[in-house]
């Protein structure tokens, strides 16, 4: 589904990704781990198409199509979802309004009509119950005055409503207490599907105790230095990232 080959990407004059390659198939859950500054979040932003990052080499294809020339909204409509590490506040814009606009933008792209208001509300309430979210959140400003945990649940709610083919969740576990972490993990697990791929970007293995990945990749200095199954996470937890950096510089 997602094929990344020898990807180089920069922000300003600083190169961050250096020849990164990654293959993600439908139905798989991948975890991208690595120390701060290794390029994890950059990878997420580059796949989603953030303007600040420039792809200077290599390729990204999604369902066989070259992703690099596509605008962020076009990638989203094709089925790529990014759960943000720091979801932004949009004062005065109703959460339900944004959600509905997003759902309809995708439906329009698929040649479907707009979602019926009643159907939309029913669906949103269902998903919110699953995430243990108060329905009142639908009618508040987007992320306005939300706690850290509420913002992350809101991201998962959007993902659940949009049903993307590829979901990239950037540090979704950061800043969550244990109850919120369980709710968020439950939401992610409920969306595991043979037709869907999920990439979890995380610094700690904590989330991986609740959402079990099929593959784990460790990033260091802009490329993947080690890949393995879920046991890699525990190895990392024991030995720390420094162990990998030694491998990287040796390799």
């Amino acid at each position: 589904m997602l094929k990344i080959r020898n990807l180089d990407a920069s922000i300003g004059d600083t190169q961050i990704l250096r020849g990164l390659s990654l293959n993600v198939n439908a139905g798989e859950v991948h975890a991208i781990m690595g120390p701060n500054g290794s390029g994890k979040s950059t990878l997420a932003q580059v796949i989603a198409g953030h303007d600040d990052y420039v792809v200077t080499g290599g390729s990204i294809t999604f369902k066989g199509e070259d992703l690099v020339p596509l605008a962020p909204e076009a990638r989203a409509r094709e089925g790529i979802f990014l759960g943000f590490q720091y979801p932004v506040e949009i004062p005065g814009v109703n959460n339900a309004y944004l959600l509905k606009a997003a759902v309809n933008a995708k439906r329009k792209h698929q040649g479907l009509g707009e979602i019926d208001a009643f159907e939309f509300l029913k669906l949103a309430r269902e998903k919110m119950t699953m995430l243990d979210m108060d329905p009142k959140f639908l009618h508040r400003g987007v992320n306005q005055g939300f706690s850290g945990g509420e913002k992350k649940r809101n991201e998962i709610l959007q993902m659940a409503m949009l049903e993307p083919e590829l979901a990239i969740l950037d540090e979704t576990d950061s800043g969550l207490d244990i109850d919120a972490l369980k709710a968020v993990a439950g939401g992610i697990n409920a969306l595991r599907d043979p037709a869907r791929a999920i990439i979890l970007v995380t610094h700690y293995q904590r989330l991986l105790d609740y959402v079990e990945p099929d593959h784990i990749h460790v990033l260091s200095e802009g490329r993947i230095v080690r890949s393995g199954d879920k046991s890699l996470a525990h190895e990392l937890e024991d030995k720390g990232y420094e162990w990998l950096q030694d491998i990287a510089s040796a390799g």
Partner: protein, 482 residues
Amino acid sequence: MSVETENLEQLVNRRYAHGFVTDIASEGLPPGLNEDVVRAISALKQEPEFLLEWRLRAYRQWLEMTEPEWAHVHYPRIDYNSISYYSAPKSDKDRPQSLEEVDPKLLETYDKLGIPLHERARLAGVAVDAVFDSVSVATTFKKKLSEAGVIFSSFSDAVREHPALVKKYLGSVVPQRDNYFAALNSAVFSDGSFVYIPKGVRCPMELSTYFRINAANTGQFERTLIIADEGSHVSYLEGCTAPMRDENQLHAAVVELVALDDAEIKYSTVQNWYPGDENGVGGIYNFVTKRGDCRGTNSKICWTQVETGSAITWKYPSCILRGDNSVGEFYSVAVANNYQQADTGTKMIHIGRNTSSTIVSKGISAGHAQNAYRGLVRVMPQASSARNHTQCDSLLIGKDCGAHTFPYMEIRNPSARIEHEATTSKISADQMFYCRQRGISEEDAVNMIVNGFCKEVFNELPMEFAVEAQALLNVSLEGAVG
């Protein structure tokens, strides 16, 4: 016709060549402003003596005044002698005969605003007999109002039919010499609206200029007077979201509101005069004086405005809180795009005891536009326990525009409680990326963020107006990003 006006006509006829009056009735006055022109306007409208005298006093005062220069707007000097102060109504044969003759670009905008088909013809100035529906609607409307005892008519009709009311209240809120443009308006005003709500009456419907009979061609110097008698209530809608074009560049309107004991007036405006093209050429200069007088105890006046049009806007709808416990409110969205300039805000003058005022101003600047908020809160020594809350937010789109805030406060009573909040924000790249990552286009994302920014003001608009205002904002900011 009264003897008085007959004499006037004779006077006018003597000063001009014989038959001139009929000529101007069909052709309009030649450019220029002097006492004869003021007399001619009054004669053409068959006004009573008191009104002619009133106009002449205003004219003489105007001559001694100088054009204000303090506003944060720039424009070439206006030559007041190059303006015609009375233009004749367009005859039907000069108008487009059907929508097919109307500029397609204008029709496209109507489409975006969702204006119903039958209204488009009227808005585009299609000949009257080609416009269906509106006459019968207006007739039903008038009947309902007269049953409630509400007077809602053109200003000229009110002068003829209710001269005592006009004489009592005209200029009682905005005196002739209040400011340069108000003085000019007082001398040469063409027409406008008059509303009187009798004691204890709640006006059965929202009054809109749209339904006013004989509304055609009120011209560039409009005059509106609204009186809400004791315990009455009225909501008045002015303007229209459809783009308004006019050959007259200078517009100087005056609006006066009077609220007596326990009365409430809600005045909502959507202003969308031609702003000039994207290079700043053409466009209306809109210099307006709007003021409400909360004359009675427990009275309330609420101004809500959405300003998107005009090349230059100079406008400060204000409240004089004279009655004890009176309430003044001002909610404003002012959008300036391309080369538009807006200097707008409000004045809240606290005179009575326990008076309170609320100001919520949202300024949006895009392109090369300059948008200024100018507000005055004055608490007089006798106004004990006055309260004011001011919230003044600016939103910038792009890097070549500007937002300016000029709050003035004059507090002369120590018991006053005054709060002022101001913010300036940009639509952030993060907000844009967030929306786009959810599949929403750049343009829709801007509209969504801007509408969210304006929400508190839109909430104050009557429902139908609010929906139109939102659509209007989207059209006004088209192409502002990208």
